[in-house]
Symmetry: C2
Subunit: 235 residues, 2 copies
DNA sequence: CGTGGGCTTGATAGTCCTCAAGTCGGGTGG
DNA sequence: CCACCCGACTTGAGGACTATCAAGCCCACG
């Protein structure tokens, strides 16, 4: 007897809830509330909410960001299928950032009490959640490093590689035709650049035969050189 | 009967281990190994270590950073007395960044098994650790936002305010004479600027009567304007 | 078929970097 | 106690990278 929710979990939750014990699984199932579906570019979690909203993405991408000044924002991380939204908020009690859908998105809403329950009664699950938070922090630190130390080419190469690898880790992905649903402005907001300059930089990467972004897909033409751009290049 | 370790903890651990239950306290005491003392500018944790090293700082400051290219690095966070070093590494099993002392430093080394034990047997302590990791991630996200969206003045104002507030939260600090042991190069590496430009920007803040950094101390002359620089300023 | 949003591209300007030389201060060894 | 020395700081000139602004284009959508 499988619920719809558990089938979904089997297929998509490779990063967080895979291979759980029976108690953990039943706890999660008890606290999984409902499934939500949103179009692209919708607010999932608003900054400053006293969020009881915890989601696990089943289909589609989203991104976390903070508003800066008037019209500018900083994208902190992209969220892929299988990943959690709002775990940090559930732990700290407040959300300091917003989350918005990048593509049409489906997600399972989970009762935020899962977190408290996990720490109280399911140590293995709690540890998993802790590691998830640490891994997320890891990614933000990596992005900060690139924004702080790299020029436009290096930052963009990093973003491409990073998103490609995260997808590849979950299953086979064609490097010549990987999903890459970011618009120019998303890349700009993630990397601390402008849309216009992103465009120029993409042109250069295309002309150099390194990578092409087209039609919301990424085609990596020269993985070694792309990797070299991220690892070696100074400014 | 108080051990040296527990006295230290009473006075300095306001962010992490304060007001613990008896079981938690005894667990920590069991796993607190020894005290270490280091001069300034020494490596505490090296990148790539399979770190069993978990510390709690008792005196002095340190900072986490990642090496970028050849000679450049990105400082991710500063670590103040009472805070933990190496918790992320203890959770994930690998360290992706280095930690270096900023001032002469004393710290208590804690057996990294504390983390596992906490999750297994002390849920309240585990939750506290989880929150600590989330708060640390929070700070990195905030720094990324400033580096991504702000000009030099805004970034520097943010850094001053952020470090001042973290100290003020732990006890009363004179805004006109707050500890600020960063060299130009540390500010540069944290904010994605160069030492030379940090210097010019500090000059402007001093000439505008907003803040002065001198002799490793920070003197905030106009807190409202300093705050406004961080919150309002666009470009 | 009109419209709007995203993309593209050019010209111009600004912020910040690079490089380099000179100053200052503190620590060390004689 | 003093001379020396090294690292940190300071300041200037020139240049690189990226932002800004603006206009035209293309496509998807209503």
């Amino acid at each position: 007897m499988f619920s719809v929710a558990s089938e979904r979990r089997d297929r998509y939750t490779q990063g967080v809830f895979n291979s759980l014990s029976g108690g953990e699984t039943s706890l999660i199932e008890t606290l999984t509330l409902r499934s939500v579906a949103l179009p692209a570019n919708r607010l999932l979690v608003g900054e400053g909410e006293v969020g009881n909203s915890l989601y696990q993405i089943t289909h589609g991408w989203a991104y976390r960001y903070r508003n800066c000044a008037d019209a500018s924002r900083q994208i902190l991380d992209f969220l892929l299928p299988g990943e959690l939204v709002g775990l940090g908020a559930a732990l700290l009690g407040v959300t300091d950032h917003s989350v918005r859908t990048l593509t049409p998105l489906r997600a399972g809403a989970i009762d935020a009490r899962l977190v408290g329950e996990a720490f109280r009664a399911e140590p293995a699950l709690a540890l998993r959640l802790g590691r998830y938070v640490a891994a997320e922090a890891e990614r933000v630190a990596e992005l900060l490093t690139m924004v702080g130390c790299g020029d436009a080419v290096k930052r963009l190469a990093f973003l491409m590689l990073s998103l490609y690898r995260r997808q590849a880790r979950q299953g086979h992905i064609d490097p010549l035709n990987a999903p890459f649903p970011l618009r120019r402005q998303h890349m700009a907001d993630a990397l601390g650049l402008t849309g216009a300059h992103i465009n120029r930089t993409l042109n250069r990467l295309r002309q150099d035969g390194i990578a092409i972004v087209e039609n919301r897909r990424l085609s990596i033409r020269d993985l070694p050189r792309l990797t070299a751009l991220v690892e070696i290049t100074a400014t």
